[in-house]
């Protein structure tokens, strides 16, 4: 069987990433700010296109070196087509197009949201089709049914804030540093989630809403602080636990509803918020009580990374579904588009 070796580039938002995959097995997965920072010294700026321009060559070089693969061994080059920030996407796409042209190999423009879900196929255990995936991150909240590596059905998504953003912004109302998600999670583990009760928004179908929760926390704190200026400090752990509990319940209730609607009992989570302990434990408990299967990828494949883009590119390569030099990034690329 011939070898299939693909270089993938991810530059949808803050981080620049590159990965090499061979026959569906990930050989390297580099994100700027980690390996590049260590290898090349100096400060790697966090944000967007100028940083991507500075990072992309060292990141690609590091990914090839770690994989022990030369440019001549590549069979295809992939990049994130969208969704994301236009300037950031353009850097990755321009680089990939140039490389594909000069090596005369196929080009693959990958959907970032599909890649998040296909990250489940990097390591064992891999879910069987069909399965449901909840993609939760700072920028996205989507509930998706996968029938195959190329057949995605969007069941629901957020109407306002993303779940990760809800953690970050409500944490900010509680005086936590931004981004507050990880700190809130840590504090919540020592709190009593039952001491305060924040209402669950009533949203029809499988869509999500988090901005009403943010406002109800704001109202609640305003009233309490009027009576006791130290209210937040004195009750911080319980407040964090209550907020975390509510956000997780909003997510899990829709997940449960999706199982009822589809009859599919294989449940996966993807995206950076997959690291939240409340969500992990809540999902595991729910699944265990119902006899459902759960899939949670390693954290390195949950946050934005090129490994997931490489995995998605591998499936597209097998399907013979290639792009050409007319490929354009699309900041608003829909889940079902490629």
């Amino acid at each position: 069987m011939p070898q299939t070796t693909i270089l993938a580039i991810e530059s949808s938002c803050d981080d620049t990433g590159a990965a090499v995959i061979r026959n569906g097995r990930l050989l390297s997965n580099v994100v700027a700010g980690q390996a590049v920072h260590e290898q090349y010294g100096g400060v790697v700026p966090e944000l967007a296109s100028r940083a991507h321009q500075e990072n992309i060559i060292p990141v690609v070089e590091a990914a090839l070196n770690q994989a022990g693969v030369t440019l001549q061994e590549l069979d295809a080059v992939a990049c994130t087509r969208g969704p994301g920030l236009m300037g950031a996407l353009l850097v990755g796409a321009s680089f990939a197009k140039g490389l594909a042209l000069c090596l005369d190999i196929p080009l693959l423009g990958i959907n970032h949201m599909q890649a998040h879900i296909l990250a489940h196929f990097i390591d064992e255990p891999k879910p069987a089709f069909p399965f449901l995936c909840l993609t939760v991150s700072g920028g996205h909240t989507q509930l998706v049914q996968l029938n195959s590596p190329s057949d995605f059905i969007l069941l629901g998504q957020t109407r306002d804030d993303a779940a990760g953003e809800a953690f970050d912004k409500i944490g900010k109302l509680l005086g936590l540093p931004y981004p507050a998600g990880p700190v809130l999670d840590k504090l919540a583990q020592n709190g009593n989630p039952g001491r305060f009760d924040f209402p669950e928004p009533q949203v029809a179908g499988l869509d999500f809403s988090f901005s009403g929760l943010k406002t109800s926390v704001l109202y609640f704190l305003q009233a309490e602080i009027k009576q006791n200026p130290d209210f937040v400090q004195e009750n911080l752990a319980d407040l964090c636990a209550a907020v975390q509990h509510r956000i997780v319940q909003i997510l899990l209730h829709k997940f449960k509803k999706a199982v009822q609607q589809t009859g599919i009992t294989r449940l996966a989570i993807a995206g950076g918020v997959s690291a939240n302990s409340g969500l992990r434990n809540g999902l595991l408990q729910l699944a265990e009580s119902q006899g459902w299967q759960t899939f949670i990828p390693a954290f390195a494949y949950c946050t934005d990374n090129a490994g997931m883009v490489a995995m998605a590119a591998h499936f597209r390569y097998l399907a013979g579904d290639f792009d050409d030099q007319t490929l354009l990034p699309d900041p608003r690329l829909a889940l079902t588009a490629t």
Binding site: M86, D160, E165, L218
Partner: protein, 141 residues
């Protein structure tokens, strides 16, 4: 000159959006300020709906900017909350958007103050203890 509009609840949002669009006139750059959770994104969703945007209007905090289509025109919806410096705003190409001639609705605009054109619309959303809200609109020039 400042003008104000009082909202007693979410049912007033559509009328408030119409009022803002009238007040704005030709102004393409709207800076929208107000505390966390006051309803800035909800207000923008209402403005977009009045403009005929059919896409889902969601918070762009992570992605920094959302792009919507309304008929033939483009609307950019920014949330600059997580930017730490003006350099980061320049890195994302903020000037290209501000100079595009398209409507730019900007939440948390403080950090890009020096990059704003001479004339823009300053909108403040206030919340009172009884949970009613007030919009304050001012043409800065």
């Amino acid at each position: 000159m400042k003008s104000t509009y009082d909202l007693s609840g979410p049912e007033d949002l559509a009328a408030a959006a119409d009022w803002l669009l009238r007040e704005a006139g030709d102004s393409k750059i709207w800076c929208i300020e107000g505390p966390m959770g006051v309803g800035k994104t909800t207000l923008i969703a209402s403005v977009c709906s009045r403009l005929g945007v059919e896409d889902a209007v969601s918070s762009p905090t992570y992605g920094l900017v959302n792009e919507y289509r309304a008929g033939g025109q483009t609307v950019y919806h920014f949330d600059l909350y997580r930017l730490k410096s003006i350099g980061e705003a320049l890195d994302m190409g903020i000037e290209t958007y501000l100079d595009s001639g398209s409507l730019c609705l900007i939440e948390w605009p403080e950090i890009i103050q020096p990059l704003l054109p001479l004339a823009y619309l300053q909108i403040t959303l206030r919340i009172f203890e009884d949970r009613t809200r007030q919009l304050i609109c001012e043409h800065v020039c």
